[in-house]
């Protein structure tokens, strides 16, 4: 039997790859088997899995194009990749559902780069978290409350640091 990956050399190994309990079996030659084993860190999921559109007769409903890079929705669906930062704005209505399905959330709560960090933004985030904290306490969800309290503390420290940085600069 020929290797299922390169289609050229004779297959010498049977490989089963398991991702979250779903197994896929392939027959590989020794060289492809080697590459398969080594690619571990980097073999991320394609977006196709999540959009469920890469496999069958999807007909484009729109000819919408990103004014910045020229990417179309159809291209994004095929490759699973957007064309530029602006695409997320252009295709927000089409992409938001997918993004939420992938992550189970729609808003960033992690690091804010200092270049785009303003006191207003930080304070906005802090007050949003405080609202969530009050709700968590009311629901007696103390584990979540503790996590939120930590986040608030981190952001307040960040805010203070920024203020001090600015004072120094002035």
């Amino acid at each position: 039997m020929k290797c299922e990956r390169c289609g050229q050399r004779e297959a010498t190994s049977v490989f089963t790859q398991t991702v979250n309990g779903t197994s896929k079996t392939v027959h590989l030659c020794s060289q492809c088997a080697q590459e398969q084993m080594m690619g571990g860190w980097f073999s991320d999921f394609g977006l196709g899995n999540f959009m469920g559109l890469s496999h069958s007769g999807y007909a484009p409903h729109t000819s919408k194009q990103c004014p910045n890079c020229g990417a179309t929705l159809e291209e994004i669906r095929q490759t699973g990749l957007v064309g530029c930062a602006k695409c997320y704005e252009t295709f927000a209505p089409e992409l938001s559902g997918t993004i939420e399905r992938i992550h189970g959330a729609s808003a960033h709560v992690g690091k804010i780069p200092s270049t785009s960090r303003t006191a207003v933004q930080l304070e906005g985030r802090i007050s949003e978290l405080k609202t969530r904290l009050a709700k968590a306490v009311a629901d007696q969800n103390f584990e979540q409350a503790a996590a939120l309290r930590d986040q608030i503390r981190d952001l307040e420290a960040q805010n203070q640091q920024d203020q001090q940085g600015k004072e120094k600069a002035e």
Binding site: Q17, N20, G40, F42, L81, I99, A107, H108, T115
Partner: protein, 341 residues
């Protein structure tokens, strides 16, 4: 200078290594495939300039154009987890920033403009993240990364939106694999927003028992929470693995026979295929961890695991040798390293 995998770190009996990766894009440029060759090279230059100011002590950075490397050299970097297979396959206009000890590798013009990666031996999420975060700050101040208040760091693939963080640990789980507990483990971690993946042969043809555990979600979770979650689950897996190893040791003679045979193969074989090498290394690593074999440092075991891929053993020859010649070179390399250790 010692290589990154020669650092001592906690939990090396089960955790081979830790990786932190941040996906970043320059706000003013189109993403990945939409860049012209000129724009790619400009970006390479900008990254190089941005990093000139950073102080990393003796761990100096090299700037390597992928076009200038031969394919074997690139493949060896894949085997050593420094770059992705895709990055090696299409070298056009791509730049690799690599620190002397290999702990820092920044892929420029991968799927995202930058993939900032830090590797550490054993379980060391915090250390690896701190260094990665520092590199991120320096690069951001010079290049200006695409960031949106609601969606966080903007990435070519929506699966990386938000923090752009992929935190992973490479786990050595021969005990759980022997006990056929991996698929149950996979179901459990899947529910916790993590992914475990491993590649192994069918039936007895298990290769290396190496599994990668990483966070799957990047939006709506902080870096700290994502890493804590990963660390907690890792701690539990380590416990289960240790129990599974104890269970294997109940049949002590059979286990010791297996371990000592593997030890014998590594020390004496004249022909060693990649698969046999990984498999015997796996048994020997477990045997050393369980103190059923003579001590060999994790530094040496890591070195053997990372430097015995097909391209890595042929690197000095400048071309990929025929499989039987490779097996000979590999066997000689393993014997030499074990003799010197």
């Amino acid at each position: 200078m010692n290589a990154w995998y020669q650092q001592t770190a906690p939990q090396q009996d089960v955790v081979l290594s830790t990786r932190i990766r941040l996906a970043r894009n320059v706000a003013s440029l189109p993403f990945g495939s939409r860049l012209s060759r000129d724009q790619r090279e400009q970006l390479d230059t900008q990254v190089q300039q941005a990093l000139e100011t950073i102080h990393l002590g003796d761990n100096t950075l090299s700037f390597l154009r992928l076009d200038d490397m031969d394919p074997v050299e690139r493949q060896a970097l894949v085997e050593q987890h420094e770059i992705s297979p895709d990055f090696a396959k299409n070298p056009d206009g791509r730049l690799l920033v690599l620190s002397q000890d290999g702990s820092i590798s920044i892929m420029v013009n991968e799927e995202d403009h930058l993939r900032i990666q830090v590797l550490h031996s054993g379980l060391a999420l915090k250390e690896a993240y701190e260094l990665c975060n520092r590199l991120d700050d320096v690069l951001d101040s010079q290049l200006g990364f695409a960031f949106d208040r609601k969606l966080g760091y903007l990435t070519a693939c929506p699966t990386n939106l938000g923090t752009g963080l992929r935190a992973s640990v490479m786990l050595h789980l021969p005990g759980l694999q022997q006990q056929k507990l991996i698929s149950r483990l996979a179901d459990t971690v899947g529910k916790l927003g993590l992914t475990i993946r491993g590649t192994y042969g069918e039936g007895s043809g298990v290769v290396g028992a190496v599994y990668q555990l990483s966070n799957q979600i990047t939006l709506g979770i902080t870096e700290k929470d994502a890493m804590e979650n990963l660390e907690n689950v890792t701690a539990q897996i380590i416990q289960s693995e240790e129990q599974a190893r104890k269970a294997l040791a109940q049949n002590q003679t059979a286990l010791e026979d297996k371990l000592w045979r593997s030890y014998g193969v590594l020390k004496n074989a004249r022909l060693l295929s990649s698969e046999e090498c990984q498999q015997t290394l796996s048994w020997v690593r477990m045997g050393v961890a369980m103190k059923l074999l003579p001590p060999i440092s994790y530094s040496t075991l890591n070195q053997l695991l990372l430097n015995t891929g097909s391209a890595s053993v042929c690197k000095d020859q400048g071309q990929l040798l025929r499989p039987e010649d490779r097996d000979k070179v590999r066997a000689a390399y393993v014997r030499k390293v074990l003799q010197e250790s």
